[in-house]
Symmetry: C2
Amino acid sequence: MRIGELAERAGVSTRTLRYYESRGLLPARRAVNGYRVYGDGDLRLVRQIRTLQDFGFGLEETRPFVECLQAGHPAGDSCPASLDVYRRKLAELDVLIGELGAVRDQVGAQLLRAEAELPGGPEPRCELRG
Amino acid sequence: MRIGELAERAGVSTRTLRYYESRGLLPARRAVNGYRVYGDGDLRLVRQIRTLQDFGFGLEETRPFVECLQAGHPAGDSCPASLDVYRRKLAELDVLIGELGAVRDQVGAQLLRAEAELPGGPEPRCELRG
DNA sequence: CTAGACCTTGACGCCTACGTCAAGGCAAAG
DNA sequence: CTTTGCCTTGACGTAGGCGTCAAGGTCTAG
């Protein structure tokens, strides 16, 4: 299939596919006229990349998965290098989530304090009515 | 004081201060020779910006706080507009943390599955020894 | 022959918060 | 006068992942 069909089937733009090729992921055979030609394996490959990107992986981080598939393994994460990426990402996520949680608490505290110091506006929920 | 001193006292670069000015935050008086001249209030202003940036606020999001201080209020969050930013940020953080948590769980699940399917490598912790 | 759909490469745009260099002005010390 | 240090504006570079022309080649239907 050519680039347009692969793009449509994978749900991405042709620009995206050319970009992946420029990054060394997703190499393409060429027809006589210079057109890129892809096989079904390439569809799996692009889908693997998109799945990881949805998880917030950068393109470089998807490379081990891509190479794993290209090496003929059943899945992108059938190789130790891919598992390492999973582990690093997990660690990163844990740190990030922790930091964001801390920030959330600080912002929440600032909000409460500032609301208490601001006389105007809507009254606090616990205000006595009547 | 001039830009170099303010930069040092605030712990930022002169480039950063000029950038803030170009964005319409942190306006500066000018000496006869064209040099920027700042007062102590500007130091508070810059510190307010940095605090918020440490919380992950974008520069635009710090504008209400800056304007609040410039209006003569005791703190950057002494104005309703600033509180609105706090609230929006809290909501954003909650959503983001939730999404990241979901991703974390999915990546963790993928890792466990892939580790189980990979025969080689270090044995699971529960393996019998000897 | 021509229109139209598809393909090619090349290159600039975007967005954020500055870093970093370039060329040159101003002021005080020696 | 010269050095030294601080200041000025201007403008390009960075990172990520493409979007969006631009100019032109290819193939097919009518």
